[in-house]
């Protein structure tokens, strides 16, 4: 925000007065507009009647308990699908990210000392796997999640793979997409680290695998934590696509309720608001994680550990 405020002078009393008066005027005009173009049409259709809102907000309404019970079922189903998808894609994404880094490093190796046919075979194998993993990433990153989910749902049974519950089709579809995204996040995190990290690790005698596992990956996780958490928001939002394949998550249940109670606008307003609250909480968590990362243990101890000279340069650079 400090950057943003450099765009204009701090408003003086006159500018503040103008702002106040115009925003009051515009506010009144907007209210009038909303009244005529939103409230009136909705009111004439009876969208504000207790008949439509009652089941949602009035505990004495006959449908209140049943409705919120169903919605709770729906949210549980949504959260279960999201949790499974997150878990699966985190594990697979980490593996894929490591594999991509390793393969990239290995495809440069010449395998000196091995007999020629074996060396050629190994090189061909690593390069082949590198290309395949790259194609896999490009394809599933470029496909809409809806299409991936529908693909899994319609395609797997015709291949003879039956997953049973609809939940698993949704989860597999989501995992396919998010694995690739998380792998790319981690990979760019690892590649963004200073080269010195890898070199130092190799200098103390760690193997390539150990370097990745012990040095690069933990740092990449730390740096990329905000991106990873915002990906969680994306997963949570994408579970709503289960609606299309008929998985009984919250939107599906909402549309079932709408068929009975005929109050679609009210239902979707409430469900949308719950979604916003959930995801907003998660993004706040991402912001908090980012701030925590910014003042990690290293920077916190810096002023006491550093020599006066270093402390001085730090002050001049931050000022």
């Amino acid at each position: 925000m400090s950057q943003v405020s450099t765009l204009y002078d701090a408003p003086g009393p006159r500018a503040r007065r103008i702002t106040l008066i115009t925003s009051a005027l515009v506010g009144v005009l907007t209210l009038v507009g909303v009244y005529y173009f939103v409230y009136r049409p909705l009111d004439t259709r009876g969208e504000f009647s207790m008949e439509k809102w009652g089941p949602l907000i009035d505990p004495t309404d006959e449908n209140f308990t049943a409705l919120w019970g169903r919605l709770w079922d729906g949210f549980q189903a949504t959260l279960i699908a999201a949790a499974l998808a997150v878990l699966g894609s985190l594990v697979l994404g980490t593996l894929l990210g490591i594999a991509r880094i390793e393969l990239k490093a290995m495809s440069k190796r010449r395998y000196v000392g091995l007999p020629t046919p074996l060396a050629v075979l190994l090189r061909g194998l690593t390069i082949g796997l590198d290309v395949i993993s790259r194609i896999f990433v490009e394809v599933f990153r470029g496909l809409p999640v809806v299409i991936t989910i529908v693909f899994v749902w319609l395609g797997l049974p015709s291949l003879g793979v039956e997953l049973g519950k609809l939940l698993w089709y949704l989860v597999v579809g989501l995992v396919l997409y998010n694995t690739v995204v998380i792998a790319e996040i981690l990979r760019s995190g690892m590649e963004g680290l200073p080269v010195g990290q890898r070199e130092a690790a190799q200098a103390v005698g760690l193997s390539t695998g150990q370097t990745t596992r012990l040095i690069l990956l933990p740092q990449a996780f730390r740096i990329m934590l905000p991106a990873l958490i915002s990906q969680l928001v994306v997963v949570l939002k994408d579970t709503s696509l289960g609606f299309i394949i008929g998985y009984e998550e919250v939107l599906r249940i909402t549309s079932q309720i709408v068929q009975i109670l005929d109050n679609q606008i009210q239902m979707y307003v409430v469900v949308g608001a719950i979604y916003i609250l959930l995801n907003y909480g998660l993004s706040k968590l991402a912001g908090y994680a980012q701030r925590r990362m910014a003042r990690g243990p290293k920077t916190r101890t810096l002023p006491t550990d550093a020599t006066p000279n270093a402390a001085l340069t730090e002050i001049t650079t931050t000022a």
Binding site: Q3, T19, V38, G142, P144, V146, Q264
Partner: protein, 235 residues
């Protein structure tokens, strides 16, 4: 594979409609996103609050719900989104001689949803412009609007181009939802009806749809990677 070749016209038609949808929605989203971004950095507190509220709402709500609202709540307000019936565009909406409002609803939903993400990408770009630029502009007496127009936004666009590109790619992928919300004949809808109505085998049809989307998304992604690498060297 023969399924794709047999129905090549269906896939091509779907591809074309999806492309039109994406193009129009991208324009809408860029307009909305720029306006919201300017609101969020403007000196007027109510506008800032409004912009923040917009971004919070649309970033945190599933696109599915946005689609529900534009496809069900707009008709409830008595609107068929007629304000989008700009003469040249009208032909697109009038498919087979019938005016179907769902294409317009899809454009509205996609633009509104993507606009929030465009705003954030632009704001990141604006934050990447060195502080001295804005200060110097202010020092020579430029107003807020001039400051944005001549100094900040031209530079912010450059820094924002890669994030903007990924937002547009995400939007192209999101447009697949339109086929499930009443838009007839786009890539996902025509493929889906090939499977469910005409009983074609699922896998080849899905591959056809996938190729259609990959044609749009992969080259864009490669282009962005290249731009990003150039930037990295330049810096």
């Amino acid at each position: 594979m023969s399924v794709i070749l047999d129905h090549l016209d269906v896939f091509a038609g779907g591809f074309w409609l999806t492309l039109q949808l994406c193009f129009l929605a991208a324009i809408g989203a860029l307009l909305i996103g720029t306006v919201i971004a300017v609101m969020r950095i403007s000196p007027v507190p109510p506008l800032r609050a409004l912009g923040t509220a917009y971004v919070t709402v649309f970033r945190n709500v599933p696109l599915t719900i946005v689609f529900f609202f534009s496809a069900f709540a707009l008709p409830a307000l008595g609107s068929n989104a007629d304000f989008l019936r700009i003469p040249g565009l009208d032909q697109i909406f009038n498919r087979l001689g019938i005016d179907l409002p769902y294409f317009r609803f899809a454009i509205i939903a996609l633009s509104l949803y993507t606009g929030a993400f465009i705003c954030e990408a632009l704001r990141a770009g604006i934050n990447a412009v060195p502080t001295g630029q804005a200060e110097a502009a202010r020092a020579i007496g430029l107003t807020f609007g001039q400051n944005l127009r001549f100094v900040i936004l031209p530079q912010a666009w450059k820094a924002a181009i890669v994030p903007l590109g990924s937002v547009i790619i995400a939007m192209i992928k999101n447009s697949a939802l339109a086929g499930f919300f009443g838009v007839v004949g786009d890539l996902s809808n025509s493929g889906y009806s090939l499977i469910t109505v005409q009983g074609e085998p699922a896998i080849p049809v899905m591959i056809g749809i996938s190729i259609g989307f990959l044609i749009m998304t992969v080259p864009l992604g490669v282009l962005l990677d290249r731009v990003e690498k150039q930037r990295a060297v330049a810096r």
